[in-house]
Symmetry: C2
Subunit: 152 residues, 2 copies
DNA sequence: TATATTTGTATCGTGCACGATTTAAACTTG
DNA sequence: CAAGTTTAAATCGTGCACGATACAAATATA
């Protein structure tokens, strides 16, 4: 029982540092993304679209582990900001295909320096070795989350 | 330049798996916290209050790396759910002191099994070794974030 | 080929996060 | 001690997250 009570201390939670560091890192992006006029989740959508020109909402959702009820309004905002286009698929009228406008494509040149700048910022909080180890573990977890439906 | 373009691929982002895993883990808590009728950030406030009976809003904010503009409405919801009490400090009228109601104190017994249940759930996604290593790195980052104002 | 089921988006409501601003109390300084 | 500054909460507005529900198109089944 004493051990279980100890497990309820904030410092012993696994989840909490994950939650706090995630927000901390997102905050590091803010000034860089402000220059593009996008939010952090919108930036993730841009990363997806820079890898694939035309992609259905559903597929973006799967890549980012988000639901369409989060993405639909987010994509509408990006559309009204002139960054992306939304059009219905010809072959399946249910599907909405997302693509970049010339403006959205142009953002890639501005964004090219962001990853390096962010690594510099993270140097204030961690070593590159630690960041690398952490990323490897997180990727493993995400990978298992994609494949392990038996377990959840 | 080719290297910089590679860095813009989603799979090469540090931030993204952090963001996605953070949400994934929070989702694992949901069914457990539903039994208490609290959200995940509210659960974090409970963890703080189980360690310290009476605590100002500001101090909770510092422990959880949140702003008071996030906490004030959250605490009001917890108050109207009968979990906590809010009262002005006698010695400093600016300060609002948060404390648990008997109901909030009683939640601790119900919550005592949550950490173990969560570890079990995480076993589906990761090894305990990896979780331990990750937590150590995340704690280091948080620690540096608390102390390094020169760098940000 | 009607009917039922599944699938991809969209809509709605609640609760965070967080920047910006406001307010009142406490503190500092001239 | 009066004026300016700092500090702790609160308020406001915007944008996620996400559960629940709706709806229409596509598919499966009777």
């Amino acid at each position: 029982m004493a051990e279980k009570a100890t497990q309820l201390k904030l410092e012993n939670q696994i989840c909490f540092p994950l939650y706090a560091v995630s927000r901390l890192v997102t905050q590091q992006y803010k000034p860089l993304l402000d220059e593009l006029g996008v939010t952090y989740p919108q930036y993730l959508v841009l990363l997806v679209l820079w890898e694939k020109e035309e992609i259905p909402v559903k597929e973006i959702a799967q890549k980012l582990f988000l639901e369409t009820n989060t993405l639909t309004p987010l994509l509408k905002r990006m559309q009204s900001n002139g960054i992306i286009e939304r059009k219905r698929s010809k072959t399946d009228e249910r599907v909405v295909i997302i693509s970049l406008t010339p403006i959205g494509k142009g953002f890639k040149n501005k964004a090219i320096e962001i990853p390096n700048k962010l690594v510099q910022k993270l140097d204030c909080f961690s070593t590159e070795e630690d960041v690398f180890v952490m990323k490897r573990i997180l990727d493993k977890i995400l990978n298992n989350a994609e494949n392990n439906e038996t377990c959840g």
